[in-house]
């Protein structure tokens, strides 16, 4: 359409709504806007509900952002007050702590250190990651080939040690007018397993979360299939933010998505919530799962035990990296650690980027079970 040529007036509200959505980072293609207007025409429209249904069907908001979409719709077409829009909302997985009140939050004493900060209270806050130049490039480059591998259902051409690729061999014969060339072979591909990082962002892990996020960014960039979640009082998927190549941008976006930085920890319920969403628990199936946490759970640890058991059944290898293990005197003495030790494949030192990246690069190598190692130590 030429500049200056205006569209019919009735189309203006629909174009305006699409523009509003685009401003809020909804990916709306021009053809979707056309379909939206066609759909509205087809439906009558007889009521506002028809326009809403047409918008949902053609502009296709992802289920994660459905609430946000509805709020924009109401504010645009009904003139409702502008709602408080959250970043990437995943209503399926958000866990709200109904026990923590604002009053209680104020009473938390900030002088506590390390594990003492672990509490079941939800405290929402934001975090900025300052630029720094430490290099995780080598980790990123090595990761894809260092992860444990599995045989894929897909096959690849090979020169030796494969099964006869009848389809391609016959096609070669046909193109060679019936001559029989050398038979062609295929073999099932070897692909790296998924890597799933679950990062504890509660107050007791405050010193380490910045490093962990940098490592997670390198992992998402380096591995073909890596997923990263943070948990404290809530569960947040930050993989999409970490896919941005520029680390500072990626970490800034991830920091904006997570709103329970340095709050309490409810490890058991958040991990159970992770497992109860089929889309998420599918990430854990056959994956190398690394939990970065001190595993300091307040109160009853029965839910944590159940969650760890379920994770271990799904995962190819389940590891817990805890900064507490950086201390040579560390022993898995807490009730929660004792309970989860039998299902863990590894319980390792997560106090430094170096030890953690070395551990992740060694995931393909077999090691004795965590239980066996730590029994010897204690």
């Amino acid at each position: 359409m030429r500049r200056g040529e205006s569209l019919p007036r009735p189309t203006t509200p629909f174009l305006g709504f699409a523009r509003l959505l685009r401003r809020h980072a909804f990916a709306i293609a021009p053809e979707q806007v056309t379909s939206f207007m066609q759909a509205v025409t087809l439906l009558g429209p007889r009521s506002m509900n028809d326009i809403r249904e047409a918008a949902l069907a053609t502009l296709a908001p992802s289920p994660d952002r459905r609430g946000e979409f509805e709020a924009h719709f109401r504010s645009y077409f009904y003139g409702d007050a502008k709602p408080l829009i959250e970043g990437e909302d995943d209503q399926e997985t958000r866990i709200k702590d109904d026990r923590g009140t604002r009053e209680e939050e104020k009473q938390i004493v900030r002088q506590e250190k390390g594990g003492e900060l672990s509490s079941a209270l939800e405290r929402l806050s934001s975090r900025d990651f300052q630029r720094d130049l430490d290099d995780l490039g080598s980790f990123r480059r090595k990761l894809a080939s260092a992860l444990p591998a599995r045989r894929s259902f897909r096959t690849a051409r090979t020169r030796s040690r494969g099964t006869l690729d009848l389809r391609r061999s016959l096609s070669e014969i046909v193109s060679a007018d019936g001559d029989i060339p050398w038979p062609l072979l295929r073999r099932r591909q070897i692909v790296p397993r998924k890597l799933l990082l679950l990062i504890d962002v509660s107050g007791s892990m405050k010193l380490h979360t910045a490093d962990y996020l940098k490592l997670a960014h390198a992992a998402v960039q380096g591995a073909g299939r890596a997923e990263v979640f943070t948990f404290g009082t809530r569960l947040t998927r930050i993989t999409s933010a970490l896919r941005i190549r520029d680390r500072d941008q990626a970490l800034a976006r991830a920091a904006a998505q997570v709103d329970d930085w340095d709050g309490g920890t409810r490890m058991g319920p958040t991990l159970l919530a992770f497992l109860s969403v089929p889309r998420f628990s599918a990430f854990a199936r056959g994956a190398a799962v690394v939990i970065l946490s001190d595993a300091l759970e307040r109160g009853d640890h029965a839910e944590l035990e159940t969650a760890m058991h379920r994770l271990s059944v799904r995962a190819f290898r389940l590891s817990l990296a805890t900064p507490l293990a950086g201390d040579p005197r560390f022993k898995p003495a807490t009730a929660a650690l004792q309970a989860m030790l039998p299902v863990l494949d590894d319980l390792v030192d997560g106090s430094s980027l170096k030890s953690l990246s070395n551990f992740i690069l060694s995931l393909a190598r077999p090691a004795p079970a965590a239980d066996a190692i730590w029994k010897r130590v204690s």
């Binding site: 066609q38 759909a39 439906l43 296709a60 894929s152 897909r154 016959l170 019936g178 089929p278």
Partner: protein
């Protein structure tokens, strides 16, 4: 199955919902609207939702609604063009080459082409409905391969050129959302998220689908299933499981088990995960009692 004109069936979302209900598939406003729009706009319909909410059933119901044959393409990791689009029948080509001797022969003739689901549908778009089931299980490469088909309803065969559908076929894609689909795919489709139905609607579905279940039983099952789904289970029960549970409990009750016990004994058809069973066991009695009450 008499074929009907798509546009005469889809006169309004209400007409679509009424016709689907006559075929024993209850669609809510959103789904009926999405089906209506997909038919009238000539776009593929993408249905997403948790396992067991009736996505595949919706596709079957649409095929029945239009009086067309359903062609189902089940996706899996590693599915490629040879499984979805077409393949050459090499054995027949070889034989033809041998028989031809010195004569010239076109080995890329139609008789050597094996049409897979997408090509079948392109060749006869008005007789078939294509179901691309569980697209989220396929690889990204396969998703990209589908894009040409979904936007222009055409496929390119290098030896033959481009084959285009004369009219737009009805295509329904389903996804359990085990991974994110590409934006390019989503924007080519009419989209609908199917959630679990509320208790009243689920009771209606159970009454329609189950064989010989009393209304009170259907309501109790629907209420109990809502309660069970609210818990953090590894595999929340779908609608089909709820129907099976109602059926199984009715059979047990007729066999002499009193009501609450019949529900408890039939729990294996509702919950098919050992951990979920042990998690729900302590509360099951109370849930069933409340649902029956």
């Amino acid at each position: 199955m008499p074929e009907v004109n798509a546009e005469t069936v889809a006169t309004s979302p209400e007409a679509v919902a009424a016709r689907l209900a006559a075929l024993r598939y209850l669609a809510d406003d959103g789904l009926a609207t999405a089906i209506f729009l997909a038919i009238r706009l000539g776009k593929p319909l993408l249905l997403e939702g948790a396992p067991g909410v009736g996505k595949t059933e919706a596709a079957k119901a649409v095929a029945e609604l239009l009086g067309r044959e359903l062609v189902r393409l089940q996706c899996y990791e590693g599915i490629d063009a040879a499984h979805a689009l077409y393949e050459w029948n090499y054995q027949r080509q070889l034989l033809a080459i041998r028989h031809a001797g010195e004569h010239e022969i076109d080995i890329y003739d139609d008789r050597f082409l094996i049409a897979r689901p997408l090509l079948q549908v392109l060749r006869a778009p008005e007789q078939r409905v294509l179901l691309v089931d569980e697209i989220d299980r396929s690889d990204h490469e396969f998703e990209a391969l589908l894009l040409e088909f979904l936007s222009d309803f055409q496929i390119s065969i290098p030896e033959r050129g481009t084959i285009r559908a004369a009219t737009q076929p009805i295509v329904i894609l389903t996804s359990n959302r085990t991974r994110e689909l590409a934006e390019a795919l989503r924007r080519r489709c009419v989209y609908h998220w199917i959630g679990y139905p509320d208790a009243a609607r689920e009771a209606e579905i159970i009454m329609l689908r189950a064989g010989d279940v009393a209304e009170a039983t259907a309501r109790a099952v629907a209420n109990a299933v809502q309660q069970i789904r609210a818990r953090p289970l590894a595999k929340p029960p779908g609608i089909a499981e709820a129907v099976e549970w109602a059926n199984a409990a009715t059979i047990l009750e007729k066999g002499g088990s009193p009501w609450p016990q019949a529900f408890r004994r039939a729990i294996g058809v509702l919950i098919k995960d050992e951990e979920d069973l042990s998690a729900i066991a302590p509360e099951l009695g109370r849930i069933v009692e409340e649902a029956l009450g």
